[in-house]
Amino acid sequence: MTVTFPQKGLPWLLLLPQLLVTAVFFLWPAEQALEQAFYQEDAFGLSREFVGLDNFLDLFTDPLYYQSMLTTLVFSFSVAIFGMSIALLLAVMADRVIRGKLTYQTLLIWPYAVAPALAGVLWWILFDPSMGPIALWLESMGLDWDHYLNGGQAMILVVIAATWKQISYNFLFFLAGLQAVPRSLIEAAAIDGAGPFKRFWTIVFPLLSPTTFFLLVINLVYAFFDTFGVIDATTKGGPGQSTNILVYKVFEDGFVGLDLGSSAAQSVVLMAIVGVMTVIQFRFIERKVQYS
């Protein structure tokens, strides 16, 4: 039990800045979104009428919204799975080497600091159909690359850009997880004649499962909400709807399409999704404490 100070007014004064910012810039807009979701506004913003659950009904009967959900799932799981697989491979290798571990770490983690939008632009020029070296190389191999027209290829481009940025994060956490695996266990297995691959799959990988699950949640949250810049700087949700993930759609329908009611309803749905993911994250972290 911590010893406390007796003052009664002071704590409120100390909390005031945080609570004020939270109330004005977080809770008020969230409340506005909630309210707006039940109204239909005309295009000029002059009048609005109460429409009840119509915005939500429209949303959930709109095939485009389901398509966007599907796109988000494909995008997020691709980013999470590729990013984690590559990072795990690199982390296992880095855990093995004796010389130069820190150098490798330095050379692998810096993309964390690159803004998602910039990551998108960097990969865009590599894949630009008229001048990008990779696109031209693919073409010479007989594969027509044009992410301006081909939705699947546009998706591949944004997945690569988003994954590239996230490998560093996964790498650091996998490396820390690997270093926490007791050496004695691995030695015992080696003495019993298990080779490196068998040791990895039967001992190391199962012991890493808390890290893996934690990273899966973090990566999905990242792909859901932090990749706006990648999409906006490269494909803008296109071609067609092929890369229009939920967090991009809510922006586009609100700011470009000016359909405020629908955008607000989408905000409410997204807030619910973040809420669920945050709870999962916290539940898990409570469990992780018991693991160790």
């Binding site: 910012v21 506005q32 290798m93 050496r183 607000a264």
Partner: protein, 282 residues
Amino acid sequence: MIENRPWLTFVGHATLWLGVALVALPVWMALVASTHPASAFGVGHIPLWFGDAGVETWKSVLLEEAGNGIESSVTFMMLNSLVMALGITFGKIAISLLSAYAIVFFRFPFRNFCFWIIFMTLMLPVEVRIVPTYEVVANLGLLNSFTGLTLPLIASATATFLFRQCFLSIPSELVEAARIDGAGPFRFFFDILLPLTRTNIAALFVILFIYGWNQYLWPLIITTDNAYYTLVMSIKRMLSVTDGDIEWNRIMATTLLAMLPPVAVVIGMQKLFVKGLVDAEK
């Protein structure tokens, strides 16, 4: 090392070098692209080796104007980015330190309720409620201002949690001793708490600086005045040039300059950065 397997060691190094090369590939290309004149990009492919127009482009981008419709120089936008990043970082750290202090070291009604309010910000990232947040900031007259760029982003549940954890781990004997020696809440905060949490603050500073510098959507929608453009969002404006061709050499130079400060921070303060990442996820 459990056993000596030379071929596996070799595979390890080879894989890591391949990984390093793949990670560096786009930056290498961007660097090469920035050294060629704009006219080199229309004719088939980006040259794969450095050209000789690099110095000119970089100088012009840094000192004159970024081009592609942006009149400000990169240096000017870097200052804007720096003000925004530092504003967000110091703001978040300051108000989170204060609120964690209040929650841990005082007892008052609705203490848990306040904690939950702060917790809720975690569930409301700006991207998902972008339209109403824009309206609120517009109503307050904060568009095109540094206050508008920083203030709405400085509430932080993560930082508050982190400091709360730090404060809770401080032995109560220390607090008692300070109380007996007559230290009031202010003295205790500045002379004991701050020095004890110094490394945590520094680690969080690194993470938050990167977060602040890389803000993209928020500056993009609330600034329409060149004077407030930040570096990361200016790329988007440069890409959406309507008349004439995109000057890729300038865009690549600007992109590299936009990522330089946070990347330098990660590499230069690697230990603090790693600590910050791990701390922030606890």
